[in-house]
């Protein structure tokens, strides 16, 4: 216990000492940005991110976040490791030291990727009140933290439209990782999308209560396909891998089944049997790029919750969707996209909102 206290104290002390130095830096940046027009005036702006345990090449949101930063760095002539860099976390205990290290190295904006980092961002943001932080997929309430979230319900609505129009058995499934507010957004958006175009369809919803259990994924998918669903949308991370395996096995045996991928284009997961119908894509790269740009321009959205939706190109359907989805259906998807963007239609995020939505449909 004593040791732990000491470390925290010394970290605090270090933070305090640095903060005076940093305060000066921050002021300069703001001035520089207000003088210069456009993004060319990078000056000494530095941005960094801490990956979660998935690592920077996780083919998922860490990789996507880093792609956004890389693009931002290239567009603004920053050099890697100096102007923009990442630190990898190999275990959960690395989050805090990694964040602290970047804060001490005077990075102007530091991203924590993934909701698992929420507590650590909170702690470190208090220790370094003059640094700017941002967290993806979670809300952290602190004046120097920007919370980046996505309107997953909007993207899920669109893949729901595709599922509702493509199903032949009139029965589709949804497999969630762990039942939570976040995954509920996927579920309700999807259900609403299906119902909007095909009110007679049945939707089978199941939660694995685990993000890393591929065998549960295969088992649940086996149950759903067995009971007649022909399309399953998964929002279940590693558990979803099992959903793909089950679909591939069934397609190999001659059944016509599909999976809808999540977070990024999961076309590759569906190969070689080619079972990916479409994917709900979350553009974490767009988000990290945008927030970095805003911050460099002196408009750091500290303490705010920024929601990236269809309008900001923050969510959407995968580009490979036209492989298996007909042009007719895609045209329909575009219609709904426009309605969602214009606000004529709102994709429900919670169970209560979904019930409201259903009343408006009927």
């Amino acid at each position: 216990m004593m040791n732990k206290k000491k470390t925290i104290l010394s970290a605090l002390a270090a933070g305090l000492t640095l903060s005076t130095v940093l305060a000066a830096c921050g002021g300069d940046d703001n001035e520089g940005a207000s003088n210069g027009e456009g993004g060319g005036e990078a000056g000494d702006f530095k941005v960094a991110m801490v990956t979660d345990t998935g690592g920077v090449d996780d083919k998922s949101f860490n990789q996507s976040a880093w792609e956004g930063l890389t693009k931002f760095g290239e567009d603004n002539n920053l050099t890697e490791n100096e102007g923009f860099k990442y630190l990898q976390s190999s275990k959960q205990a690395d989050y805090q030291p990694n964040l602290q290290q970047l804060a001490r190295d005077n990075f102007n904006l530091i991203y924590g990727i993934g909701f698992l980092m929420a507590e650590d961002i909170q702690t470190v943001a208090e220790q370094f009140p003059d640094n700017n932080f941002a967290i993806v997929d979670m809300v952290v309430d602190a004046p120097n933290v920007a919370s980046i979230t996505f309107k997953e319900q909007e993207g899920s609505f669109l893949v729901g439209v595709i599922a509702g129009l493509s199903t032949e058995s009139n029965k589709v499934g949804f497999i969630g990782g762990v039942e939570s507010d976040l995954i509920k957004k996927f579920e309700n958006g999807f259900k609403a999308g299906v119902m909007a175009v095909n009110p007679d369809a049945t939707i089978d919803v199941k939660y694995a209560e685990d993000f890393n259990s591929a065998e549960k994924g295969t088992a649940i998918a086996s149950g759903m396909y067995g009971a007649g669903s022909d399309i399953i949308y998964h929002a279940a991370g590693g558990t979803g891998v099992g959903v793909f395996t089950e679909a591939k096995n069934r397609k190999k045996n001659g059944e016509q089944v599909w999976v809808i991928g999540v977070d990024r284009d999961q076309y590759e997961e569906g190969l070689p049997e080619d079972v990916t119908l479409t994917s709900m894509v979350k553009r974490v790269d767009t988000a990290t790029y945008e927030v970095s740009k805003q911050t460099m321009d002196g408009n750091f959205p500290g303490g705010e919750i920024i929601e990236f939706g269809l309008k900001d190109d923050g969510v959407g359907i995968a580009e490979t969707s036209d492989n298996h989805v007909s042009d007719e259906i895609l045209a329909k998807v575009d219609e709904y996209r426009q309605q969602l963007i214009d606000g004529e239609l709102t994709a429900p995020a919670t169970d209560a909102e979904f019930e409201e939505f259903m009343k408006s449909v009927k």
Binding site: K206, G226, T245, E246, K248, N249, L271
Partner: protein
């Protein structure tokens, strides 16, 4: 849905779920029957899974096609057996604490596997394999009414696992080798005085355990996940240890325990489609496998008696 239709879904799911568990539990039995605690089963499965995927990817590149995952299973057995030397050498020769050692090996395994994947592919997880061991309908047998539930949507590895359980039972209880293995686990000094080489027997027990653990990990990887990452094996090894204890260190018991876990799991997943069970809250169904396990361990199967000398290093001449 009729009762039979339900069985056609539940039985294949249960078999698929049970397969790696049964194989790994059989591995645990070899090691513990010889007197060495094998908490490292989890880590050995990690290595087996990594080996299985890497070998499949490599062999596919060499043009072996659908044969590659099967060869990969054999390679994973060999690598698993070699990797188990990390447990065997310190535990048997240097008399290290077997439980602590096992925990350390589990940590080592994940780090080592990810490291190798990074060196080979320059990224944190492998690609997906092109050829996996797929679920199939067994020709002819899958046309028999009712009984077809065992032969539809099934992987051949499931049959291998069940067959192995009987083979291991025969080896442990009906052969001289099995008798010696059990004797060094129960009373190594008595075995030693009868001229049995305790060190050698225990090495064989642990390495067989490694081979089975490696096979189990590889089976899991080439049938379920079809790629390898740091989270491919999370907890299956420990569940296998539970199945081994549940089955009272008997191969046929482990087979039963593995199938029991499989059915409990399948029921929790399919349950909401069944007439009576769909009124039960989902959370109860989800904890059902674990609750049933605790109940079963507490009373139904009676006392679980471990081999007498399991976990105790043998020191020659010491009473």
């Amino acid at each position: 849905m009729s009762f039979l239709e339900v069985l056609y879904i539940v039985v294949p799911v249960a078999l698929a779920y049970a397969t790696p568990l049964i194989i790994a539990a059989l591995g645990g039995i070899f090691s513990e029957r010889s007197g060495v605690v094998n908490i490292a089963l989890e880590g050995i499965m990690v290595i087996g899974a990594a080996t299985g995927i890497i070998t499949t990817l490599t062999l596919t590149n060499m043009g072996l096609g659908g044969l590659s995952p099967w060869i990969a299973l054999l390679v994973a057995m060999v690598v698993g057996a070699l990797f188990s030397l990390f447990l065997a050498v310190p535990a048997i020769l240097w008399r290290a604490d077997q439980t602590v050692l096992g925990v350390a090996i589990n940590m080592l395994a994940v780090g080592l596997a990810i490291f190798v994947v990074r060196v080979l592919y320059n990224k944190g997880q492998t690609d997906f394999i092109q050829y996996r061991i797929a679920k199939e309908n067994v020709p002819i047998l899958s046309d028999i009414p009712v009984l077809r539930m065992f032969f539809i949507n099934v992987q051949y590895t499931s049959f291998i696992a069940i067959a192995l359980a009987f083979v291991v039972w025969f080896v442990i209880f009906k052969t001289p080798f099995g008798l010696r293995l059990r004797s060094v686990g129960e009373h190594p000094m008595a075995a030693d005085t009868m001229g049995i080489n305790v060190t050698k027997m225990r090495f064989m027990g642990v390495m067989l355990s490694g081979a089975f653990g490696g096979l189990a990990g590889a089976v899991y990887a080439v049938t379920v996940t079809t790629n390898f990452s740091g989270t491919t094996i999370v907890g299956q090894g420990f569940l296998a240890i539970a199945a081994m204890i549940f089955g009272k260190w008997n191969p046929l018991g482990a087979l039963g325990a593995g199938l029991f876990f499989g059915f409990a799991q399948a029921l929790s997943i399919i349950g909401s489609n069944l007439p009576v069970i769909n009124n039960v809250p989902q959370v109860l169904l989800l904890i059902a496998p674990y609750a049933l396990t605790i109940l079963a361990l507490a009373g139904v199967v009676g006392r679980a008696d471990a081999p007498k000398s399991v976990g105790i290093p043998y020191i020659k001449g010491k009473r």
